[in-house]
Amino acid sequence: MKVMLRKRGLSGLVLLAAVFWLPACSSTRPYHDVYQKNLEIHTKTKSDSILLKVGASLHVYRVTGPCKVEYQGTIGLGDGLTNVGIPVGKPSYLSFEFNTSGILGGYSSSTDTSTVITPSPGHRYRINASYVDSIYSVEVAVQSPHGGKRTVLPLQKLSGC
């Protein structure tokens, strides 16, 4: 059985066809948050359509080598503040996923952005994660133990990839 997907192009209809089987599965599990809370995540989501709802989640990975990570778990991010702990002195790969789905079903999408953080002892990291009207951003700032000025950190890619 063929499935045809119709996409509107610039000057007419771009008609595309492809057939694949894609297994539907989910292998996420809750993050076992046993560390001192050093991440302060402020989340804001807003859909640009009343027919779509937006959700955010954080997938936490331990960096085990060049371009190698080990999945640690996932935390749902509701709007507002979520405190999370990740191990101090060890790099963690944080993947922020924004999901959009139709309230009536039939449509879903996800996009993600990520960074590597290696927390210093006593430092707190403030993360602003937002998805507003289909534009998303993740910003990270660090604050020293003595409450000094916050310093914005660029998002770090996973090394060796």
Binding site: G9, V14, L15, I135
Partner: protein
């Protein structure tokens, strides 16, 4: 394979012309009260991060009685910023894999794909900058994000899954 009749914009000039002449195109101008070099710098910083990437689009049809069939295609986006004399141009190209594409110019598509947006970035006499967007109708959020970068009012990325199709979408490596 499905037949169709349309012209694929395979050069920036074809994209500009398509935006002007097609009902699926959009041409719009935005004035920014920032110097040209600052605007170009902001766009150069954000475009590779936000506009380069792949999106998987999956369509599922059927039910338990008839069987479920899924169609998947991968859509890749590539931005390119070029300086031309005292102006700059931002191109966004799109390539689709896992599909059969039909249309005029399909054999002339560059490796990075056909053009879906061209932005002419032009300094103005008053010290500001003019952005002229030539794009497909479905790229509102991309134009909004680029405008925010140019105005330095935001650094967010447009969700490319929102411009690639429907049903289920997600990033691909």
């Amino acid at each position: 394979m499905i037949g169709g009749c349309f012209t694929i914009p395979v050069t920036p000039d074809m994209m500009r012309e398509s935006a002007r002449s097609s009902s699926f195109g959009r041409e719009e101008t935005v004035h920014v009260q920032r110097p040209f070099d600052a605007v170009v710098s902001s766009i150069a910083q954000r475009a590779p991060t936000c506009l380069r990437g792949g999106v998987r689009v999956t369509t599922t049809q059927g039910n338990a009685a008839t069987g479920i069939t899924t169609s998947t295609r991968n859509v890749y986006y590539t931005p390119k910023l070029v300086r031309k004399g005292n102006r700059a141009e931002l191109y966004i190209q799109q390539m689709v894999k896992g599909t059969i594409l039909v249309g005029e110019n399909k054999d002339k598509i560059p490796p990075e794909g056909w053009y879906i947006m061209v932005v002419d970035i032009i300094p103005t006499a008053s010290g500001g900058t003019q952005l002229k967007f030539y794009r497909t109708f479905n790229l509102d959020i991309v134009a909004t994000a680029i405008t925010q970068w140019a105005k330095n009012t935001g650094s967010g990325c447009p969700d490319l899954t929102k411009i690639s199709g429907r049903v289920h979408e997600g990033n691909v490596a």
